[in-house]
Structure formats: structure tokens, C-alpha cells
């Protein structure tokens, strides 16, 4: 008997984005068009006097300032500092959240004992910890890290807790009946089940971490883009301030794109399970 798998080879690429008739334009081009339109509006509003150019300079001037800023070494240093605060903070948050999530999630007693504590701690806005951070760490990178880690750990932890609980009872029985060791169960059953949840957590945390990194620089004045924005504002360099705001927006987009790419890579089998499973 020769049987072919319904589909051999690696899991399929996700379905192409709905390329329905939104005009003859493909989606990326359409998105670009939207951005150009926004730039146009930002150009016209101050020029026609609808908004005072003191508060919102025309887009062309912001773009000029952006080019100017990009030529300064201090800008790149600030960008690096921000990336550092974000990256280290996120890494710590993911590590701690994943570890705690696995531990708490697999031990029923721990899960029940910590549930209310988590519900209490989670809603505390990270910025409420600014005074504490300054008191303990001053205005350096550590302060940023404290705030970033505190905010970014929750999505990872909560997703991980949900993921660990989602292990299929039949898969669990299978592992038990073949006498998998504790480690093998964690490695081959619990971990792969929780991975999609973890990836969602990481994606959420990545955005939160960026927000917190920049906020803390703005408020505390630890080095980074946030601090540069505050400086630009206080020295009345409005164009420059907007230029830096645009940079933060671009950072956000990069973070999101990177997180989604990672998710797709890691979960190749999973997205396909969702769309292709025969049950």
C-alpha cells in the first residue's frame, strides 16, 4: 500500500492576505499611500493656518529636522540607549515571566496561592514606580530597566500560565502512559503547548517595553530618545521634537514587525494546525 500524505514537506505559508478588489493596488502600496496622504495633511494644516505652525510645523520642516538629527552622533547614541533599555528589559521580562509561568503553572498549589497576588500586582501602572526607581537606581539604565521589566513581565507571565494549563488531557495521558520523565513532559508536551501563548506574550511585551523605555527616559531623564524629546521640547526645537516622535513611531513598527516574524517562524506548525487540522 502506498499512501501519500495529503501534503508533504514543510508546513504551508499562511494564506496570502485577502487580495480582494480594494482598487487594483496591492496592500503594501495602499498602506504607503495612506502615509503619504497623512504627510500631505500635516504639510497643509500649518501652511493654511488651521493649526499654528508654532505647535505643528509643516511636515517638510519636520523631515528636514529628521535629516539633521540623523546626522548627529548624540542621536544615534540615544537610539542605542533606547534599544538597550528595551532589549535588556524585554529579555529579562521574558526570561522571568517564562520561568515563573512554567513553575507556577505546573504546580497547582502555587497557581492557586499566587492567583490573587498576581491580580493585585498586575494593574499597578509601571510609572507609579518612577519614584521608587529613582530612589533606588537614580537616573541610569537600571531605572529604565526596572520600569520596563515590571510592565513587560505580566503579558508573558499570564500567557504562559494560560498556555501551561492548556495541555490536552489526551496528550498528557499519552505522555504518562509511555512513562515520560518529568523533564520529557515539560520539554515535549507542556513547552510546545505553551509556546504559542508565549509568543503572543512576547509580542505584547515587546510593545509595552518600548512604551515604558521611552516614558521612563522622558520622565526620569535616563539617556535615550525619550530624554532627547524632553530636551528638544524644553529648548523649543519643535521640529526636532516631532522628528524624534516620528522615530519612536518607526521603532514601534519595527518592534511589531520583528515580533510577528519571530512568531511565524517559531510556530510554523501551529498556524497550520489551526487552518489545516482534520478532526
Amino acid at each position: 500500500m502506498t499512501l501519500q500524505p495529503r501534503r508533504a514537506g514543510p508546513p504551508p505559508a499562511p494564506h496570502p492576505r485577502s487580495r480582494t478588489r480594494t482598487g487594483a493596488l496591492p496592500e503594501p502600496l495602499l498602506g504607503l499611500l495612506g502615509l503619504v496622504l497623512l504627510a500631505g495633511v500635516l504639510e497643509v494644516l500649518p501652511r493654511t493656518g488651521v493649526v499654528s505652525a508654532d505647535y505643528l510645523p509643516p511636515f517638510s520642516e519636520i523631515a528636514d529636522a529628521l535629516v539633521g538629527v540623523a546626522g548627529e552622533e548624540s542621536f544615534w547614541q540615544a537610539l542605542l540607549d533606547t534599544a538597550e533599555g528595551w532589549g535588556y528589559g524585554l529579555a529579562i521580562a521574558v526570561g522571568v515571566g517564562t520561568g515563573l509561568g512554567l513553575l507556577i503553572g505546573s504546580v497547582e498549589v502555587l497557581r492557586r496561592a499566587t492567583a490573587s497576588t498576581i491580580e493585585f500586582l498586575r494593574p499597578i501602572p509601571s510609572v507609579a514606580l518612577v519614584p521608587l526607581a529613582v530612589l533606588v537606581y537614580g537616573t541610569g539604565l537600571e531605572s529604565t530597566l526596572l520600569l520596563v521589566v515590571y510592565a513587560a513581565v505580566w503579558p508573558v507571565l499570564l500567557q504562559m500560565l494560560a498556555g501551561v494549563r492548556d495541555v490536552d488531557p489526551v496528550a498528557r495521558d499519552t505522555a504518562a502512559s509511555y512513562r515520560f520523565t518529568r523533564w520529557a513532559r515539560l520539554r515535549h508536551v507542556t513547552w510546545p503547548t505553551a509556546l504559542p501563548y508565549l509568543m503572543t506574550g512576547v509580542r505584547l511585551s515587546a510593545s509595552v517595553a518600548l512604551i515604558l523605555a521611552i516614558s521612563s527616559q522622558l520622565i526620569i531623564g535616563s539617556p535615550g530618545i525619550g530624554k532627547e524629546i524632553a530636551l528638544a521640547q524644553s529648548s523649543n526645537a519643535v521640529e526636532e521634537m516631532y522628528a524624534l516622535v516620528i522615530v519612536t513611531g518607526a521603532l514601534g513598527v519595527c518592534v511589531n514587525v520583528a515580533a510577528r516574524a519571530l512568531e511565524r517562524r517559531v510556530l510554523a506548525w501551529h498556524t497550520s494546525v489551526r487552518t489545516e487540522a482534520v478532526t
Partner: protein, 280 residues
């Protein structure tokens, strides 16, 4: 293996698998279900017994108790003389929900190899066992596919391949052929019998299909409807050499099938213990 089946009911040895007064009640929130009331039987070493019974009779529950996955509320299960308190070594289970028992994040070959790795089977031997098992269920070409890329029947065969690659002493199968076509089913039935005869393992086989139970088994245990007891233990005195067409054409096969059929019909309304003695 002798050429005629041993009448296991009168077999002298203590029996490898001993189910003694097993009772199982599920305590849910507000709902308690007595799935199994009182089951006592034994299956000798190297014996192939089939279990039939109405849906919801507690066959899966019984299998889970035997597999050490569920603690019985009352009674005990003994395997080779020792009380079962957790999944015992040398036992493989083919679950009714075969699809969910395969790990979707692993290829078919990895799914089959992982239990062997847990058993510390050396790598070359592992590869050979995986290939052999896939070959015997007719899935030679799919080791690198993922389970979700296969049809339901193919997934079921992968689950069976995983169990036989494990080379168990005791094999528990919970309606393992439910999702395959008639032709494949016949092949798998013959495969089960030949594996059983070659490897000398003890097989407990749950099925809804009365023909299948009679064709496969040396014994057929008929369970009553819930609350469940063993209603009858039918010895299948057909020749050990079985063949799909000729065996099923035997007058004795028809008699046994009719007998088990009546019992199963009775099982649906059965609630008190003793039934007529086993068929002669």
C-alpha cells in the same frame, strides 16, 4: 502458540492482568457518575481478549484504570502480580482520541520514536523499529509528515504504529480502528493478530464491532450498560489460524456472533448480575 486457542476461562495460571472488583465513580461538581460498578476478570499472559459493551458503559474508564492513568474508586488492578498504581512499564495504550494523542509539533517519525527514547532504546534500534512499525501499518512514505497533514485514518494508524514500535508486553487498544475504511480495517485486524502471535503480548481490545470482537479475540467480554459489570465472558473457540473470508464464513463464527449480539442487546437494559454461562 498452539494451533487451537486455549480455553482461557479455565486457564490455570494466575493471569498476567488481574482486574479485581474495580469500581470507578467520577465526582464532578454537582454530578457524580458511577461509570463502572464492579468489574472482575483476568487476562492471561499472551492472551487476546476483546471487550464489547454499549456506548458509555465505561470501557474507556476501565482501560484508563488498567493503564494506571486513573485510580479506581474501589478494587484493584494487578499486573504480573503487582498492584497497578501508575502507568506500568511495558504497557502501550492506543487511545480512542487518537488524533489528540499524537503531538502536532512533531513529525510522525518523532512521535513514534519519542516513547522509545524514553525507554532508552539505542538510536539505531529506534530507527529500525520506527521504520518497521510504519511499514506494518502501511505508512512507509510519511515519516517526515506532521500528524495534522494526514487523514483521520492515517493518524489512527500512526498511533497504532507508535504502540507496536514500543514492543509492549501489554497492549491496550480503545476502538483503534474506528476511523479507517473496511479494507484497511481488515488489514489492521490481521496485523493485530499476527503481531500478537509473533510477539506474544497480552492484548486487551475494546470495540463496538461485534464481528471484529469475535474475529480477533480468544475471548469476548461483554459489559453491561452503566452501572457496569461483566455480563458475560464468551470463549471464542475458532481456529487460531484466522482469515478474513473463510473464518467469517464458518458456521461457528455466525453462532458466536449471534450469541454476542444477543448479549449486547441485553446489555443495554441489563442491571443485575448473573448471566447464563459462557457459550459452549
Amino acid at each position: 502458540m498452539t494451533s487451537t486457542d486455549v480455553k482461557s476461562a479455565v486457564r490455570a495460571d494466575s493471569g498476567l492482568l488481574d482486574v479485581r472488583g474495580v469500581q470507578k465513580t467520577y465526582y464532578g461538581s454537582g454530578r457524580t457518575v458511577e461509570a463502572v460498578r464492579d468489574l472482575t476478570f483476568s487476562v492471561g499472559t499472551g492472551e487476546l481478549a476483546c471487550i464489547v459493551g454499549p456506548s458509555g458503559a465505561g470501557k474507556t474508564t476501565l482501560l484508563k484504570c488498567i493503564a494506571g492513568l486513573l485510580p479506581p474508586t474501589g478494587g484493584e488492578v494487578r499486573l504480573g502480580g503487582a498492584r497497578v498504581q501508575g502507568p506500568p512499564p511495558g504497557m502501550a495504550v492506543v487511545f480512542q482520541e487518537y488524533g489528540r494523542s499524537l503531538f502536532p509539533w512533531m513529525t510522525v517519525a518523532d512521535n513514534i520514536a519519542l516513547p522509545l527514547k524514553q525507554k532508552r532504546t539505542p538510536k539505531p534500534r529506534r530507527a529500525a523499529l520506527v521504520a518497521e512499525a510504519l511499514e506494518s501499518v502501511g505508512l512507509r512514505d510519511v515519516p517526515h509528515a506532521y500528524p495534522w497533514q494526514l487523514s483521520g485514518g492515517m493518524q489512527q494508524r500512526v498511533a497504532i504504529a507508535r504502540a507496536i514500535a514500543y514492543e509492549p508486553d501489554v497492549l491496550l487498544m480503545d476502538e483503534p480502528f474506528a476511523a479507517v475504511d473496511a479494507q484497511t480495517r481488515a488489514e489492521l485486524e490481521d496485523l493485530t493478530r499476527s503481531l500478537w502471535r509473533n510477539l506474544g503480548m497480552t492484548v486487551l481490545f475494546v470495540t463496538h464491532d461485534i464481528d471484529e470482537a469475535v474475529y480477533l479475540g480468544q475471548r469476548v467480554l461483554v459489559l453491561s450498560g452503566s452501572p457496569t459489570v461483566v455480563m458475560e465472558d464468551v470463549a471464542v473457540d475458532l481456529p487460531a489460524e484466522r482469515e478474513q473470508l473463510s473464518t467469517r464464513a464458518l458456521p461457528r463464527f455466525a453462532e458466536l456472533r449471534a450469541h454476542v449480539y444477543e448479549q449486547v442487546q441485553r446489555a443495554k437494559t441489563f442491571h443485575t448480575a448473573p448471566a447464563a454461562g459462557a457459550s459452549a
